[in-house]
């Protein structure tokens, strides 16, 4: 553009004519540029649409296929019977469902109180110790789940010389802890300082302020974070593989126990179609459970947002 402007000759007589010509040139140039830019934009947006299609196809196919195969495996027996021997049709996964509930329930019972207490620690304290704890939580979030499983094996399986639901719960609790700590801390930080001050001004003790004002105010956020942590833990396979064993039916936390992800793994890798059918059914049950938990977590978070507004 500048070259064309400079090329226009200066001079009294040619002034009006030159300015019009210049305007013309600029207009043509910018129209061309705009057309080109719009064309590029349209192309790029088209590519983005293609990307959306590419990313949605496998994700939706995965869920749809699991659902369609899994629904056929479901029956009353599927929820109430124990598995048949390998390759034989029929049977159910009641042992795995009960086992998963026990393992995840115990894990939550261990991780939630410790997690919330640690979050309070981070909330109340600044400085090097709090920084180290926060750093540890961030690092632990990235630790592969198989490493946590091997750790639980070394701590709780090897010394006791047998697999147990408790060892699996411990592994899952370690997995859940950093998630719970960080989500609870940020939920508590969202409680405005004025609410703390209102409580303190009434002469209420700090511990009571935290219990009645901070924890209550942050409740929705804490519940959301914990539900998401549970939803993540219930589908984990690697931490359970070497900790819980894969047993028939058991209610004692100190005995080897089955779990739904383990059933999916062992039946899914079996060559028999009957076993693979069970794996699809178990996968569907697990998927449904996880999705329902996530939806509940989202609804709780949504309620929280509405209250804040």
């Amino acid at each position: 553009m500048t070259t064309e402007t400079a090329a226009v000759p200066a001079g009294g007589a040619g002034m009006g004519h030159g300015a019009a010509r210049r305007r013309e040139l600029i207009r043509a140039q910018s129209a061309r540029s705009l057309r080109r830019r719009h064309l590029t934009g349209r192309g790029a947006v088209g590519l983005c649409v293609v990307a959306v299609a590419i990313s949605l196809t496998p994700l939706v196919a995965l869920v749809a296929y699991t659902t369609s195969r899994g629904i056929h495996a479901l029956s009353v027996d599927f929820f109430t019977k124990i598995p048949t021997p390998q390759g034989i049709p029929g049977g159910g996964i009641s042992n795995a469902i009960v086992g998963s509930l026990i393992i995840v329930g115990l894990a939550a019972a261990m991780a939630v109180p410790v997690g919330i207490a640690s979050a309070l620690f981070l909330l109340e304290r600044r400085g090097r110790i709090a920084g180290a704890i926060r750093f540890t939580a961030d690092v632990l979030t990235g630790v592969p789940s198989i490493a946590i499983g091997i750790f639980a094996y070394a701590v709780l399986v090897e010394p006791l010389a047998h697999f147990s639901a408790l060892a699996g719960s411990f592994a899952l609790a370690v997995l859940m802890l950093p998630v719970i700590i960080r989500s609870s801390e940020s939920a508590m930080r969202a409680v405005p300082r004025t609410e703390w001050e209102a409580g303190l001004a009434l002469g209420v003790r700090r511990g009571r302020v935290v219990r009645s004002i901070v924890l209550r105010g942050a409740l929705a956020g804490i519940v959301t974070g914990n539900l998401l942590a549970v939803a993540r833990a219930v589908g984990e396979t690697a931490p359970l593989l070497f900790t819980t064993g894969n047993q028939l039916f058991n209610l004692s936390p100190l005995q080897p126990t089955g779990a739904v992800p383990l059933t999916i793994f062992s039946d899914g890798t079996s060559p028999f179609p009957a076993d693979q059918q069970v794996a699809w059914g178990a996968a569907f049950v697990l998927l449904l459970f996880v999705l329902v938990l996530s939806v509940i977590a989202r609804l709780v978070a949504g309620r929280l947002n509405r209250q804040a507004r």
Partner: protein, 345 residues
Amino acid sequence: MGAWKKEPEVADPVDRTTSTLEEIPPAERTPVAGVKEALQRRWDRPGGRGYAALRWGGATLFAAVAIALVVTLLTSSSQAFGHSGLSLLWTGTWDPTHKIYGAETFIVGTLITTAVALVLAVPIGVATAAFLSELAPRWLATPLSVLIDLIAAVPSIVVGLWGLLVLTPAFAHHVEPFLKTIPVLEWFFHGPALGPSMLLAGVVLAVMILPTMVALSRTALAGVALTDREAARALGGTRWQVVRRAVIPGARTGIEGAVTLAMGRALGESIAVAMVIGNAYVIPHSLLAPGATLGSAIINNFGGATPGLDRSEVIALVVILLGITALVNAGGQVLLRSRSRPAVH
């Protein structure tokens, strides 16, 4: 004890007690003037022994578990590192019967599958996020975003099952033979099309990290200030130019964080990979060749390992895996720090 006590005092619009304190002579001060000080005293008052014990107990327990994790894995693998030293890292053979242990195959496999997953998931994920956050109309973007957020919760074992029973035959009969016919890319895809392969493992990992990639990138893109977009628009940018020149650069830190997280997940995933990679313990020379990763090797070897050196060697694989993920995370942190410093405006 006060949580926010050491924070620099900023102008507090609610605070009406101290602003005029200096001007009013002491005798004429109303009782209100002392409220802030009284409040600070209350703020600093310890919260009771039970409350302190709760906080310290929780934090101590958490720290103890984290330290125990590292210490246990290090001591359990010390026998292995004592046996072969660091040569474990560049030995290519894993042969427990002859007491030859090497992790090179697994390390290479881990890096290749992760690279394949990132090459697929990062561009597609960012483009999807850009579409959902910036370009799509609201009635379309909201349900799609919720859908992808929910799919992010799908457990990896379900993805693995789908990869094993659906993708493996599809890859063996259709996808892999097709890839071998593409002129330039065929160089990556020589050898027989078997189904279980490095490529398939990478694809399964990509499917697994894609929803996370989309969700986090979308949050980062949505967080770019409206004024940045308006400025780009006011300069005459088209809708796409605003996205390309203002929004995506503005969200760069967040997108890099998403990539780091996705990479960590891909590196550390074990069960789904073990189901589709074919578990061959040779360094693969094609993406169609079966291979093994650190995670899949741990899954396949830990159960059968005899106590002693054998098991210690498998735990050494865990330590190597931990080291790699820690390096990636630390690298991500350093990258973020170096970026954020000059970007002050």
